[in-house]
């Protein structure tokens, strides 16, 4: 019996310890917001936070999260960084099919928690593990920057971006 915290609640599972966290969360705990895209750590659709770090959970065995705190999109903080990102995602109409977006937002949330004002290069590095097949990348960038600005209580470096785009 393996135990960990899922969105603040202690949960137990007797699934094989090599079962990836993603499948325990989806099939046993029935939280479907985290998605399957590749099963090989290559796309980020399955991104959750484990002890606050963004992790690709399709390749993270249950054994590795014993005793740890797992957060999924369903448990993303309804204030603060999570809310700011989600509001920005809606305002910028980031999502197309939307399938990758839970993973994108979880990765973005971990980024802004660690680095509230990332440069464009830092943003790209942090988000490069998350594929969006619909190609929402320009809007993902805009939304992260606008959420960062909101959280900082004003405009940050968005101006620099706008300048480049209008050239």
């Amino acid at each position: 019996m393996l135990r960990f915290t899922l969105n603040g609640q202690t949960v137990e599972t007797d699934l094989a310890p090599d079962t990836p966290l993603l499948w325990a969360v989806r099939d046993q705990f029935k939280l479907k917001g985290s998605k399957f895209g590749c099963g090989a750590g290559l796309c980020g659709a399955c991104t959750m936070h484990v002890d606050g770090m963004a992790q690709k959970t399709c390749v993270l065995p249950l054994a590795a999260v014993a005793g740890k705190a797992v957060t999924t999109i369903e448990g993303l903080d309804p204030q603060g960084v999570g809310a700011a990102l989600q509001a920005a995602w809606v305002a910028e109409s980031v999502s197309q099919c939307g399938y990758c977006q839970s993973g994108q937002i979880m990765a973005a949330a971990a980024l802004l928690e660690a680095n509230p004002n990332p440069t464009e290069a830092e943003l790209e590095t942090a988000m490069a593990g998350n594929i969006c097949r619909c190609g929402c990348y320009p809007r993902i960038k805009n939304a992260i920057q606008s959420a960062a600005a909101t959280l900082a209580g004003g405009a940050l470096f968005k101006d620099a971006m706008a300048e480049e785009v209008s050239a």
Binding site: D27, K32, K35, G39, S95, Y99
Partner: protein, 734 residues
């Protein structure tokens, strides 16, 4: 103002419960199945599209499938405009299967071909306007005033200072007859159409609440993974499931038409079981095939010549007499769609009924397929449509729905079938590979005198027939389907040209002497529609050739194009718009510009790409895109579709290829089938041409110009005329 008679496509009949039903006429179908619209007493359901409830809620049953293209927002906006009610007040539902939800341009319940807004605009505007008129009439009756004293404003009936919600008049409206004719709202009065506002599905998709096929969970459901042949065309000879059955959680193993299914309590167990399964496969004609051998077959076919698809003037004489000629051969490889959500479906076959939950590009055909393989009538199948985690043409083919049905029929349990990413890349279907040749000549004035184009490869039509006939004609026996597929196949071998194989290769520019040929070469590799279909490769050949011709003519490539577009004003206008960007754009040091334009799906697009090569790697920094799609219902969604098509097209242009080795597809996941990532994504600027013309497609037309625009920029950057996709490979080998 235009007036439409609803008689052309509407009829009404009384409905039990004192309500009123407006159903769309179904030629040859006298008893339409009941609408898949759940209703409670007091609900007003005037037609298949709208439900009004007493608490003031309005539900719109969106007839087209949401795969990211924003169709739920777009079509809701149209009906909302007619109703005179903010789209945000309307709850969008994904419609189940019913003939009333057919795509008006196709007659079937299918989403694709960038047709949704184009085909539904008048229909849904009419429906909205009719309902608004009905509420006005009901309000006049209830309030005891003349209808002329009333107007509407955002879901309210307005009488002088007083405002009443539509919902107040539901009961009376339900007793009235929908007006025979209705004035459609004038474009000048649009409040929401033409305005950019956030997508209506933004919130469910930012919170993880949007439900896709993969998310469906029904009581008693089991998970299946199917082991399919490594080489297309091979069949199961025998299999050993002892090891698979000993995997914890595995419940059963069943052979189905396409392979062997392992069924387990959870997905992960099914996948482990599938890995433990040993299957012996029969030989296939494709055994041993490699990319090189397939391409050699195409080259041989192209050299032998093929069917004439188009001919004007005398291309041979014009080429012989040309001052300068260009002769280029182009290669475009097989590509997978790789939607972010791999194929998935949940099917439950019960005794005399079945249910399907999936996100497909054809809920109607999907239900019919379940019926066929479950041995039921289509009316016995309930279809639950979900969001699609990407489509791009892939979710129009429903092999996975058939597989899930066959498994559920065998187990009697609800089955969730999920393809892995490896299944997705190796299990088909693909954008067909194409070998193309264009010979073109200039006259003394530097104008194109001759355009001689040819393409060799396989056609998507036979496979489309194979996949769609069983769904569209439920009564047709399998043998007849096979016959039809074989017939189509043979017809394309020397009789007729599959237009989707050559579309876009020659149409855009004025050419006095034209010849287009096609040679069919089939290898049994399943192919289908892939975002922008034939245009995805023909535009590359056509637009690279145009740059080569412009160079030969000593002309600016954009001016050269414009000189050949006098007959084609919409394309000319977007080229001229992009020319402004082109002329005013000084690329940063080390960067170069490339241009391309293309008309597809009734929409014209021109693009400029700013490109550099850094340590041998191609980097696309910025793309300008001008588009004429007629009236833009929501300009921000048009922009998003251009951005997305550019990214999707860049993945193909820079990285995309599937190789064959020993008859099997070599690539298996995103490590060797790389998708463009955020650090490679260019900045995109989109200009939408001002237009009041009827709206046209936006899902696909943004894609075709990007590969040639990048290739043309690379020529300026490197002096190498790259004619093979993907460009990263071509540049390395050049």
């Amino acid at each position: 103002m235009s007036t439409l008679s609803r008689r052309s496509f509407l009829r009404h009949s009384a409905l039990a419960g004192g309500g009123l039903l407006v159903a769309f006429t179904l030629p040859g179908c006298s008893t339409p199945p009941s609408l898949p619209v759940p209703r409670e007493s007091g609900d007003f359901v005037p037609n298949a599209f709208l439900k009004f409830t007493a608490d003031g809620a309005v539900h719109f049953y969106c007839p087209r499938d949401e795969m990211g293209q924003g169709v739920t927002t777009g079509l809701t906006t149209i009906v909302a405009e007619g109703l005179d009610m903010a789209p945000q007040r309307i709850t969008v539902e994904l419609a189940g299967a019913h003939p009333d939800y057919a795509n008006p341009g196709m007659g079937f319940q299918v989403t694709g071909g960038s047709t949704s807004v184009k085909e539904h605009f008048t229909q849904l505007m009419t429906v909205g306007c009719q309902l608004r008129a009905l509420f006005l009439a009901a309000a006049a009756q209830d309030l005891g005033v003349a209808e002329s004293a009333l107007t509407t404003d955002d879901g309210m009936i307005v009488h002088g200072e007083n405002r009443y919600p539509y919902a107040q008049f539901l009961a009376t409206a339900a007793t009235l007859t929908v007006p025979e004719t209705v004035d459609l709202k004038a474009a000048a009065d649009y409040r929401w159409i033409g305005t950019a506002f956030p997508r209506l599905d933004g919130e469910v998709k930012a919170t993880g609440k949007a439900v896709y096929g993969i998310d469906i969970d029904v009581p008693g459901m089991e998970h299946a993974v199917v082991v399919r042949p490594p080489v297309f065309g091979a069949k199961v000879v025998r299999f050993d499931d002892r090891a698979a059955k000993s995997v914890a959680g595995v419940r059963t193993v069943v052979e189905i038409a396409t392979g062997v299914a392992v069924v387990a309590e959870h997905f992960w167990q099914a996948k482990k079981g599938a890995e433990a399964l040993t299957v012996e496969w029969s030989a296939s004609p494709l055994d041993g095939a490699t990319t090189a051998s397939l391409r050699a077959d195409y080259a041989e076919a192209l050299a032998a010549g093929g069917e004439e698809a188009e001919s004007t003037g005398d291309v041979a004489t014009a080429l012989a007499g040309a001052t300068k000629t260009v002769d280029l051969e182009f290669w475009a490889p097989f590509l997978a769609h790789a939607p972010m959500e791999p194929m998935s479906a949940v099917v439950h076959v019960k005794g005399d009924s079945a249910e399907l939950w999936a996100g497909t590009q054809g809920p109607g055909p999907a239900g019919a397929l379940v019926a066929r393989h479950a041995g039921l009538e289509p009316a016995q199948v309930m279809v639950h449509q979900t969001y699609l985690g990407g489509g791009f043409g892939r979710r129009g083919t429903l092999t996975h729905v058939v597989e899930a049905t066959q498994i559920s029929k065998a187990t009697g349990t609800p089955i969730k079938l999920l393809w892995t990413r490896e299944d997705d890349l190796r299990g088909g279907l693909y954008r067909p590979a194409s070998l193309m040749r264009i010979r073109a000549g200039l006259d003394d004035d530097g104008r194109i005198a001759a355009w001689d184009a040819a393409r060799a490869g396989s056609n998507i039509t036979p496979e489309t027939i194979r996949n769609s006939l069983p769904a569209l004609l439920p009564g047709m026996p399998d043998g007849v389907v096979d016959f039809m597929v074989g017939l189509t196949d043979r017809l394309h071998q020397g009789w007729v040209v599959d237009h989707s194989s050559i579309e876009g290769l020659y149409e855009d520019y004025a050419v006095p002497n034209l010849a287009v040929h096609h040679v069919t070469k089939e290898h049994g590799i399943p192919v289908t529609f892939w975002r922008s279909v034939g245009h995805s490769y023909t535009a590359f050949a056509k637009e690279v050739t145009m740059d080569a011709l412009a160079e030969a003519a000593g002309q600016d490539p954009v001016a050269f194009r414009l000189a050949h577009l006098e007959h084609n004003p919409r394309l000319a206008a977007v080229v001229a718009k992009a020319q402004e960007a082109w002329n005013g754009w000084t690329p940063a040091p080390g960067r170069h510009l490339g241009f391309a334009a293309h008309h597809s799906f009734a929409t014209s697009v021109a693009q400029v790409a700013e490109v550099s090569v850094e340590d041998g790697a191609i980097r696309v920094h910025r793309v300008f895109c001008a588009v004429d799609c007629g009236l833009a219902i929501n300009p921000d969604i048009v922009r998003a579709q251009m951005e997305g098509a550019i990214m999707y097209g860049l993945t193909a242009a820079l990285h995309g290829k599937l190789d064959f080795e020993g008859g099997a597809v070599k690539q298996s996941n995103f490590h060797d089938y790389p998708i463009l990532r955020i650090n490679e994504a260019p900045k995109v600027e989109v200009v939408i041409m001002e237009s009041q013309e009827a709206p046209t497609g936006v899902g696909e037309p943004g894609l075709p110009p990007i590969a040639p625009a990048v290739a043309n920029a690379l020529y300026r950057a490197t002096g190498k005329r790259l004619t093979e996709l993907p460009l990263s490979d071509a540049l390395r080998l050049a």
